[in-house]
């Protein structure tokens, strides 16, 4: 493929997005869907065309020329496709295509399909820009772009209560991150003098942790950029928007809030890992935040009843895992888990979408209990996805090896933050604990859905049992099942005889895959998880046992309040800010204007006082005149 074809990657979906936005209103869903799929598919195909280039270890790059070129900054509108980017392109456009296709079925009765598909296409385009960009500024363009699309898509059901607020929260959080990001970039630029990813990496590689001041511009830049990445990837303390984002259509949750956009932060930090390698303190910070996210996500996933929220908290937890890998300075593991997670979480979300569709937009697992038995393909998808999510079966499920690798890398590192030093071993125990939790929430979900006693929604509608309707939904689920299963194989390290080495090299720009865990080494954990999973499943598949659990459910304040993060933000940030706004707009403005009015009042008062002098009486005037003359004489110097 010629390099300029790179440019066409984002252009295809962008063009179809534009087309749909402008003229989509009159078209029917199928046509719209077709157009949308076409845009993404073309990108995918072109991307595939670069496979040969990349597999040869070469890079393709293309530049439109300067995007901004002034005295203070100059950045190209340039794309660069190395193997990392290639893998991401495949992920984005491949999953993008599949999920768009899925949406054709999923959104068939939507009132505004054109808007939906246009946004989806735009998202793919932005995401492609993000992964293809060869410099931080252009990344920022895509970065904000995906945020916008995410916002648009979350707000798709704009009439429903809560949806606008959810969209707004996602928007706001992302904007905070964006601000941090752009300032971080500015700091980095000020320090390194370049926006280029490769340039940055090269310059950072030339430094070492000892040779750079921990308080330098670069450190601040790295920290700020990290803030941006946290916001985008929903790491604590910026994680609150992600569960809310489930208000959007399910395919969106699958594509944006599971597979691609939320991993953009991971992608970016991994790209900049040479810089982060310089600052152990910052990595310590990442450790803390990622651990918090990991735990919060897993714990909260256990107590949710909304099917999508369960998955969303699970996503949080997994993102935490990825950041842990980054904190351990092991971007390879992070990337690997990124792909693995994308594979099984997209599958799970789409399966959940299928369930929701079949149950006429019911999302409460209690009501959905037992629904899977009517939905064979969805059932298979769920099982594969859940197994992947827990990482139970090495070759059949996507998450196993990547999680193991994260665990390994964390265990070999150590947390340093200020004077706090924690060994990686301790951390890895925490992670393993959380892994058990993941077995709990996944199989709790599965238990519900496989329950023998059907919930209300599983009983069907108008006498019809829930059923899978759409061809595309089924098709895509099927494909993803294969992908999910296959990824386990693809990611398996050589010690397991898998293709992991090749894939790892691809996703990590030719880096050598570290020696993976031996099966024996992983076995105990595996067994424990298996037991936990089985136990959970048995509990929740049984309506009677389940009921006890549900009865206790109401009282858990800490969990019901999601560790009070929302309340904290509300009372510490939003309420004061709004109050300040009201205060300023009412009081400060009035006082400021009041000052003006006061000046006017002073003028009037002065005017009134002078008025009294102007009595109209002749003698007063004469006295004034004589007094004035006298005053003039007093002005004389040297009396």
């Amino acid at each position: 493929m010629p390099p300029y074809a790179l440019a066409s990657l984002p252009v295809f979906p962008a063009a179809t997005a534009l087309l749909l936005a402008l003229f989509g209103r009159r078209l029917n869903v199928k046509l719209i869907g077709t157009i949308a799929c076409l845009g993404v598919a073309l990108s995918f195909l072109v991307g595939v065309g670069f496979a040969s280039t990349v597999s040869g270890g070469a890079e393709a790059s293309f530049s439109f020329g300067p995007w901004l070129a002034t005295n203070v900054l100059s950045a190209n509108l340039g794309f660069r496709l190395d193997s990392v980017a290639f893998a991401m392109v495949m992920l984005v456009s491949g999953f993008g295509f599949l999920i768009t296709l899925y949406s054709v079925g999923y959104m068939h009765d939507d009132k505004e399909p054109a808007r939906f598909f246009a946004s989806l296409n735009l998202f793919v385009a932005s995401m492609l820009i993000l992964v293809l960009a060869d410099n931080l500024l252009l990344i920022f363009l895509g970065w904000e772009g995906v945020g916008v699309c995410s916002y648009l898509l979350i707000g798709h059901y704009w009439k429903d209560a809560g949806v606008p607020l959810a969209a707004y929260r996602a928007f706001f959080t992302n904007r905070v991150g964006d601000l941090l990001f752009v300032l971080g970039v500015a700091f980095l630029y000020a320090h390194f003098g370049t926006f280029d990813l490769s340039g940055l990496a090269a310059k950072a590689d030339a430094l070492s942790a000892d040779s750079i001041d921990g308080n330098s511009l670069a450190a601040w830049g790295a920290l700020l950029v990290l803030g941006g990445a946290f916001a985008k990837s929903a790491q604590a303390p910026f994680h609150v928007w992600l569960p809310d984002a489930m208000a959007g259509p399910t395919p969106v949750s699958a594509l944006i809030h599971a597979a691609t956009m939320v991993t953009a932060g991971v992608y970016l930090v991994a790209r900049l890992s040479p810089i982060y390698a310089l600052f152990p303190q910052i990595r310590g910070f990442i450790y803390i935040c990622a651990l918090v996210t990991l735990v919060i996500g897993a714990v909260l996933a256990v107590v949710q009843f909304d099917i999508k929220k369960i998955l969303a908290y699970s996503t949080l937890s997994n993102l935490g895992l990825m950041f842990l890998a980054l904190a351990a300075d092991s971007p390879g593991a992070a990337r690997l888990h990124l792909f693995g997670h994308a594979a099984f979480k997209a599958l799970l979300f789409l399966a959940a979408g299928s369930v929701i569709l079949a149950a006429h937009h019911e999302q409460d697992v209690r009501k959905l209990a037992g629904v899977l038995k009517h939905l064979p393909i969805t059932r298979a998808s769920f099982w594969i996805g859940c197994l992947g999510g827990v990482g139970l079966i090495p070759f059949l499920a996507a998450g196993f090896f990547s999680k193991e690798m994260v665990l390994e890398s964390v265990a070999e590192s150590q947390l340093t933050l200020g004077s706090l030093v924690v060994s990686g071993k301790a951390l890895s125990w925490i992670i393993m604990g959380v892994e058990l939790l993941s077995a709990v929430y996944m199989f709790r979900l599965l238990g519900y859905l496989e329950s023998k006693v059907p919930g209300e929604a599983a009983k069907g509608h108008h006498g019809h049992a829930p059923h899978e309707t759409s061809v595309t939904v089924k098709l895509v689920l099927g494909i993803l099942c294969v992908v999910g299963l296959g990824f386990g194989f693809v990611s398996a390290p050589p010690s397991f005889g898998g293709m992991g080495k090749g894939f790892y090299a691809l996703a990590n720009a030719g880096a050598e895959m570290p020696e993976g865990p031996s099966f024996l080494h992983a076995l105990p954990a595996l067994v424990v998880s298996l037991i936990v999973a089985a136990l959970t499943f048995s509990v929740f598949a049984n309506a009677g046992k389940r009921a006890k659990y549900e009865g206790r459910n109401q009282t858990r304040g800490l969990l019901a309040q999601k560790f009070y993060f929302d309340a904290l933000y509300e009372s510490a940030v939003f309420t004061p800010l709004r109050a300040l706004g009201r205060f300023c707009s009412a009081i400060v403005e009035s006082v400021a204007l009041g000052g003006f009015e006061l000046m006017g009042g002073a003028g009037e008062t002065g005017s009134g006082m002078l008025r009294r002098l102007m009595s109209g009486r002749f003698q007063n005037y004469a006295a004034l005149l004589l007094a004035a003359v006298f005053l003039m004489l007093l002005l004389l110097p040297g009396r």
């Binding site: 002034t70 005295n71 203070v72 363009l141 704009w158 706004g581 300023c584 707009s585 400021a592 204007l593």
Partner: protein, 497 residues
């Protein structure tokens, strides 16, 4: 050729005034057409400046001695990429304003007459090449706005008292422009009326005190118009009572007079003052951004939020201007960034205010606490408004995005932390704007506002044209930034007499 057109341009509003004088009633359709054509003319006049190697156009009119003072009053016009940005902005805003916003009831011709006084003066401010002519137009603009608002402002129970607001507008504006006049008096002292580009040379021979006075005088004048925070007392009520078209023009163009002054008149000339005061002023600008944003959060009415968002966004322009501290060629990017933001913000605000006016039948400002779900009746309007809101929030792909990045980077070199604060202000502003947008347009239908009909197809087309400008400049900002920067460099290098 362009010189001729340039000298003709200020007289066209006079012609339009004459045209309206002969109508018995304000003729909205006629006005929409004529103003749009005038706008196109201005755009055509300005656009060639953005072609690389476009020469600077300068026209000298008559000059005369002011009897009393022995100073010379010159009339001269110029056009280069820098002020072309402003002229282009004016040209693009005119169709938006006059096509989207029509008076709801029959108006007297004075509506369009005063509008054209304002428009002509704005144009004059942007193309005048001598300080006195500049000031002349500056004050005329105030008069135009005064009569427009006074004669056709909103006298409803839900708006502030018209005359109080108007008086406040006039007095606060003059609180700036009178010191500015003093500054001009100081500057023209040695050698008579000066061309804008010669300002720096002209003040270099002044005594330090006079120089300082001139600096603060100019700053106050421009700062009030912009407005800088603290000098913005006129903002809210004026926007509330102004007729919608005037409101749009105020925000889109008239506030840019202040920006023009800062970016093109003040900063390039007063290098050493900015060296001293630049960071402090940047702090003021950053405070303005935050304050504007915070107040936005506290407002309930879309019009008010737009007004205060203007305060916040223009504070970013000011930030850029104050970041151009050294006033030499290496600072051109700060100025360029400012000019770029001026252009973006103007177009956005004209569009937003125009759409705001089209929401309800009676043009009443609608309260977010009472009204919601408006999207159901006005899909197209909502879509366009959303894009405009995005543009205002400087989302990527739209020109404001590139502009804001430029501003941040330019300001960053001088003070990272003020930049950060300003960015936070912009963030809060964006949040507030999106928030009220959500409350008004999304969710279930609430409130009993009589919604106007949705936009018509031609209007949508016009809207899309505007959006495409944002898009093009967002994706390829160098189209705009390059020529402006070159023009600035030329001026600083002293090539232009």
């Amino acid at each position: 050729m362009r010189g001729t057109l340039l000298s003709v341009a200020p007289f066209i509003p006079l012609g339009l005034i004459a045209l309206h004088m002969f109508t018995r009633q304000g003729h909205a359709k006629l006005a929409a057409w004529t103003q749009s054509l005038f706008g196109l003319f201005l755009a055509a006049l300005a656009l060639p400046s953005f072609v690389s190697d476009a020469p600077r156009v300068a026209v000298d009119g008559f000059s005369m001695m002011i009897t009393g003072s022995g100073t010379v009053f010159k009339t001269a016009l110029y056009l280069d990429a820098r002020n072309s940005a402003f002229v282009l902005l004016l040209g693009l805003c005119l169709p938006i304003i006059f096509v989207f916003i029509r008076p709801r009831t029959e108006v007297k011709p004075s509506y369009y007459i005063s509008a054209n006084i304002l428009i002509g003066s704005l144009l004059g401010v942007f193309i005048a090449n001598s300080l006195l002519l500049f000031y002349l137009f500056w004050e005329m603009a105030l008069l135009g706005a005064y009569f427009w608002i006074g004669l056709h402002g909103q006298r409803r129970e839900d708006t502030p008292a018209l005359y109080t607001a108007l008086m406040r507008f006039v007095l606060i504006t003059l609180f700036g422009s009178l010191p500015m006049l003093m500054a001009i008096a100081i500057v023209i002292l040695p050698s008579g009326d000066v061309a804008l580009a010669d300002l720096g040379r002209s003040i270099s021979i002044l005594s330090p005190e006079l120089r300082g006075l001139a600096f603060w005088g100019f700053l106050l004048g421009f700062g009030v118009k912009l407005p800088l925070v603290g000098l913005h007392g006129w903002l809210r009520d004026t926007y509330a009572v102004a007729p919608p078209a005037c409101r749009a023009l105020l925000s889109a163009i008239m506030s840019k007079m202040g920006a023009y002054g800062l970016l093109i008149v003040l900063v390039p000339a007063f290098g050493s003052e900015f060296g001293t005061w630049g960071p402090t002023l940047m702090a003021v600008a950053a405070a303005g951004a935050i304050y504007g944003g915070v107040v936005c959060l506290g407002r309930d009415r879309l019009t008010d939020v737009l007004a205060y968002s203007s305060l916040a966004h223009l504070s970013l322009v000011a930030l850029a201007a104050f970041a151009g501290t050294r006033g030499d060629a290496s600072d051109s990017s700060a100025i360029t960034a400012g000019i770029f933001q001026v252009f973006n913000h103007g177009l956005i605000m004209a569009f937003l205010f125009a759409l705001d006016d089209r929401i309800s039948v009676d043009g009443r400002g609608i309260l977010m606490s009472e009204v919601g779900g408006l999207r159901a009746g006005q899909g197209r309007l909502t879509a366009l408004m959303l894009v405009a809101m995005f543009a205002a929030a400087s989302l990527p792909g739209l020109s404001n995005f590139a502009g804001e990045i430029l501003v941040y980077f330019a300001a960053f070199r001088v003070s990272p932390w003020y930049t950060f604060a300003a960015g936070a202000g912009a963030l809060i502003t964006a949040a507030a704007m999106i928030r009220i947008f959500h409350h008004l347009f999304f969710g279930a239908r609430r409130g009993n506002v009589v919604q106007a009909a949705d936009l018509r197809i031609p209007e949508v087309a016009l809207g899309l044209a505007v959006v495409s400008v944002w898009l093009v400049l967002g994706l390829y900002p160098m189209l705009f930034v390059g020529p402006v920067e070159r023009a600035f460099a030329t001026v600083v290098a002293g090539v232009v007499p």
